[in-house]
Each structure stands twice: as C-alpha cells, then as structure tokens.
C-alpha cells in the first residue's frame, strides 16, 4: 500500500504542515534589511568620522582621508580641546563652557519643570475661568519664531539687571520651555482618572496636598521624560546662549562654535572634532541611557503639540 501511495503523482509533493516555509534571504528581506543597513551606515558615518579624526595627530589628518582609522591613536586632541583650545582671548579650552552649561542646564531644568508641572496640574485638574485663553496664547507662542521675542526679553533682563548673567539665561530657558512642558504635564494629568482627584477633594485635600501627595508620586515617568527633553534641549541651545550671555558665561555650544570657527591660527581639525564630540557627549549619553523614554518624550511632545 505504501508503495502505491508514493507513486500516485502529486501526492509525492510535500504536504504543507506547520509554519509557512520562510527564506531568510528572500528578496523582500534583502531589500528591507539592505536598505536599513545602508541608511544606518549613512547615519553612523559622521559619528565615526568625528571619533576617528579626534584620535589622529595633525600630520596624519593632513595626509590621510577622513574615513581611515587612526594609525596611531593619540588622546592629545581631547586634552587640548578640554583644557587649552583658544577662543579669541581665552585659551582655557572647553572646560569653561562645559561648567557654564552645567550651571545653566541644571537650574533651568529644575525651574522649568517645577513651573510647568504645577501649571499643567492646575490646568488639567482645576479648570478656572480664563485659563484656556492663557494656555492658547502659550501654545501659539511656541510657534512664534524666537527672533520676534528676543529683543523685548533683552530689555526685560536689562531692567531686572540680569542681562548677560547665567541666571538671566536660566529664566529665558524657563520661559521658552513652558509651552511644551506645560502641554506635556497637562496631557498627562488630564489622563489621571478624575475620580481619584474627586475622592481626594472629598477627603479634604487642597490644591498643594493633592499635587504633592497624589499627583507627584504617580507621575514619575512623565518627570523623567520632561527631564530628558529639557536637558538635551537646553544643553543644545545656541541662540539664547549667544544672545543672553557674555564671553565668560558662554555655554558650551557657543564656545565650541567659537573654537572651531575662529579665524585665527592654524586649523586643528583633530582638536575641533574632539571638542565637537565633547559637546555632544552629554545629550548623547542622555539619549542612549534613556532609550525608549526619549522616543516617548518626543512623540508625546510632538504628536500632541
């Protein structure tokens, strides 16, 4: 019987069973992964070039091509970029800008998030008359080119007496971080079940008690998202830094630009690239450490914006 079955024509074909046969190298897969890998290489090249160049000595940079790995690895450009590169008159490297940026970013992040979280909470849970008008103006303000508001703020800061100081810049960051941060927190708090809020009110908790005891403990994720967004955003700022600070209080980005694009002296490309990496390091670390949260942050900030 078995013999008969075997020779009966089409029966000899494999009887389909289990998963559909898959080819790891199907045309579809080759196309998808091929494209993705190619694009990924394109995206990685600048990072690679930065690192490679910063590890070469100047003679090698002048001789070789920018994509070739260093024949002799040297960390001297990094040391120089950090401690002795020149910007105009100062020759104490990027370290000054780094510490300025730290002293700008930390208080700016704290201040802007403190204001925005309380504000978002007030807007989401304590709707009061007129709040929507101010909020609309705030959100529309997020689309106004900064250039329109730059000069009035210069006057404002000058009147208060903090124009050119770090605290002036901190205030500016708090102001311009407000729209997106408030939106972020407002949307988050609005999604908290209203019953929870009502129950707390019935239990006699007031505005601040509810914020501190109920809302804060349950909103850790959104605070992390906000910190990520603000840290990278403020660290990367250039325009406000260049407008509202003086050379000795310049943030790192401004100082970097002045080092690399300074017209005096011989161009030291390796030092420039080391300085560029150093400036990009903080946001890059934040990005790689935070991973999915970063994506969530920009998605939350952007899609709903």
């Amino acid at each position: 019987m078995a013999d008969v079955a075997e020779i009966s024509g089409p029966q000899t074909a494999i009887e389909p069973r289990g998963a559909r046969p898959r080819h790891a190298f199907s045309r579809r897969n080759i196309f998808i992964y091929g494209t993705l890998i190619l694009v990924a290489v394109y995206y990685l090249i600048p990072l690679y070039v930065m690192v490679v160049t910063s590890l070469k000595g100047m003679p090698e940079v002048r001789l070789g091509n920018i994509f070739s790995p260093p024949m002799e690895i040297t960390f001297e450009p990094w040391v120089k970029a950090w401690s002795s590169a020149c910007t105009g008159l100062n020759c104490d490297g990027l370290s000054r800008g780094f510490w300025n940026s730290v002293r700008i970013t930390v208080p700016s992040v704290i201040l802007s998030i403190a204001i925005a979280s309380v504000n978002g909470y007030a807007l989401a849970n304590w709707r009061f008359k007129g709040a929507d008008i101010f909020f609309t103006v705030l959100i529309v303000g997020a689309f106004i080119p900064y250039q329109v508001m730059i000069y009035p703020i210069v006057i404002l800061l000058r009147e208060i007496g903090i124009y050119g100081s770090l605290s002036g810049l901190v205030l500016v960051h708090a102001i311009f971080g407000m729209p997106i941060m408030t939106l972020l927190f407002r949307n988050y708090f609005a999604a908290v079940p209203e019953e929870l809020f009502k129950a707390a009110r019935v239990d006699g908790a007031g505005f601040w008690a509810i914020y501190l005891k109920i809302m804060l403990p349950m909103s850790l994720p959104i605070f992390v998202v906000a910190i990520i967004l603000q840290t990278t955003g403020i660290w990367n700022d250039f325009l406000f830094g260049v407008v509202y600070t003086r050379p000795d209080t310049y943030p790192m980005t401004v100082q970097l630009n002045n080092i690399v694009n300074s017209v005096q002296g011989v161009k030291e490309y390796n030092v420039n690239m080391a300085a560029t990496i150093l400036t990009g390091l903080v946001p890059l670390i934040v990005y790689f450490v935070s991973g999915r949260l970063f994506v969530r942050g920009i998605a939350a900030g952007a899609v709903k914006g």
């Binding site: 007030a122 304590w126 009061f128 529309v140 505005f207 250039f238 630009n257 914006g305």
Partner: protein, 297 residues
C-alpha cells in the same frame, strides 16, 4: 442658622490661579506683549537702541531692497521645500521599513534617531568637516581615481544650501521617522488583517488605505517641520557662517546680525516680523482646521 458668606469669585481656586501666574505672565508679557512690541518697533527708525520714531514701512522697503535679505528668503524657500519633501519621504519610508516586524528594530531606530539628540552646532561642525574639500568626501573620492570629482558645497555658492540640507536631513529625519512610526502603529491592526484577507498587496494597502488614514499625523508633522525650517539658524552659523559670501544666509541669521552686530534694530525687527508672518501663514490655517473642526464635533 449661621449666615454664610458668598464666596468671592476671584478667590475661588485661588491656589490654582497662583500656580498659573508664571504662565499668565509669560503668555501675556513675553509671548503676546513681546511679539507686539517687536512688530510695533519694526515701524520705527531704531538703530542702536529702540526709539519710538515712527517711519512707516521704510524698514520693510529697505529690507526687501537688501540683496542679503533676498538671498536669505530664497535660501529659506529652497531649503524649506526640499527639506519638507525629503523629510516626509525619507521619514515615512524608514518608518514603513521599521514597521515590517523586523529584527533589531530598536537598534535601527536608535541609530536613526541619535543625531536628533545632538545640537545643530555639533551637526553643522561635523558636516563642515565631512564636506571639507581638502580632506572630506571630495578628496576621498578623488583619491580613489575620479580625479575630476567635484562636490564642494561649502565653498560653492550655487550648491551651498544643499550642503546644509544634507546636514539638516541627517539631524532631523529620525524625529520624523519616529512620528510616522507612531502613526503607523496607531493604525488598527484589524485593518491590515482585513486587507490581507481581501488580498490587497502591501504597497497598495499603504497607498490607498494607510496613508489616507494618517492624515492627522502628516499635518502635525508638517507643522513641526515647517516651524523648524523658519527657525534654522545655528546650523548655518556653525556649518558655513552664512558663506561663501552671503550665499547661505537665512532670515533668522539676518535678524540676529542686524540686531546685535550691525546695530540696526529696526531692520532686525522688520525681518523678524516677516518671519512671524511666514509662520502665521502655516500655523493659522492648521490651528483653524485642527481646533475649529473639533469644536464642530
């Protein structure tokens, strides 16, 4: 029964109102007030200091007569149109590729998005180096044998804006991809199943079903890209400094230079008002569509 005092309206939710004071001040004085102030002073002859000496549209006439401003506007249009198209197309294609239930999705996404974490200054300087004619792409290709190879966007006034575009796309496309991917993921999985049961090829499902469904995401993306385009400043400063000559000037840079270097505030105010106007052209219809429709249900 003790007589109850009628609560004073203004004091209701007092704490909430106090908490909103920074927002009110910012919205009123900085955003609304500041913009109005700038628009108002763009009609004055302010030079080193703002002075309320009304001169009508004189600043605007001078602005539109200035070659530098016209180059800046033209650059913005070319850069804007191209960056809009490329960011949309590349962002969507990358998102669609990542949406094919592939392996290492997180790795690819991390790679495509990391430039977005970097500042424009860093972006500009890296690409300045890569496009450097003596050491960068041009010299590498030439050393491979194509000795006549010519790609020197940073020193060629005709194509400098494309050099900036390459850098901008590298920096920003990851974000657009992420937005598009979120949009694709937001589409009901049953739609995909239904189209598979119907036997509709993948590309047709994208073209006729998925893309039309993503309209809201596209509009949001459009607004984000557009408002970013008008602002472009740091990238140009870092990558080309506006050069060669004035070939890569952009409006935002014109504003800054006239306000803080040329000591010609009136010009700066007029130029920034023009920027405001161009954003309004994009944002107002969008806001009207977005919020107007919501109100009508």
């Amino acid at each position: 029964m003790p007589q109850q005092k009628r609560p004073i309206r203004l004091l209701r939710n007092l704490n909430a109102k106090i908490a909103a004071v920074p927002m009110m001040l910012t919205a009123t004085f900085v955003f609304a007030g500041g913009s109005l102030w700038t628009v108002l002073y763009s009609f004055t002859s302010s030079k080193l200091l703002p002075r309320f000496s009304f001169v009508g549209a004189e600043q605007y006439e001078r602005l539109w007569a200035a070659p530098r401003w016209n180059v800046a506007v033209e650059n913005l249009f070319i850069y804007g149109a191209l960056s809009l198209i490329f960011q949309f197309v590349i962002g969507f294609l990358l998102a669609a590729l990542l949406d094919q239930k592939i392996r290492f999705e997180d790795t690819f996404r991390t790679i495509f998005l990391y430039p977005f974490a970097l500042s424009f200054v860093v972006t500009g300087l890296v690409w300045q180096w890569i496009l450097n004619p003596d050491f960068g792409v041009q010299s590498v290709v030439r050393s491979l044998g194509w000795t006549n190879f010519e790609f020197n966007p940073l020193y060629d006034a005709d194509i400098v804006i494309f050099g900036i575009l390459i850098a901008a796309l590298w920096q920003g496309t990851g974000l657009i991809m992420c937005l598009m991917l979120a949009g694709l993921r937001g589409i009901d999985e049953d739609i995909w199943k239904a189209s598979r049961v119907d036997g509709i090829p993948t590309w047709k499902t994208y073209l006729f079903i998925v893309i039309p469904m993503m309209r809201p995401v596209f509009i949001t993306t459009l607004v984000i890209i557009a408002s970013g385009i008008v602002r472009v400043y740091d990238l140009v400063v870092a990558q080309t400094g506006g050069g060669p000559g004035i070939a890569s000037e952009v409006p935002a840079k014109y504003v800054y230079d006239y306000m803080f270097h040329a000591q010609n505030l009136g010009q700066g105010f007029a130029a920034s008002t023009m920027m405001l106007l161009s954003v309004a052209v994009v944002v107002v219809p969008w806001a009207y569509l977005e919020f107007g429709r919501r109100r009508h249900g």
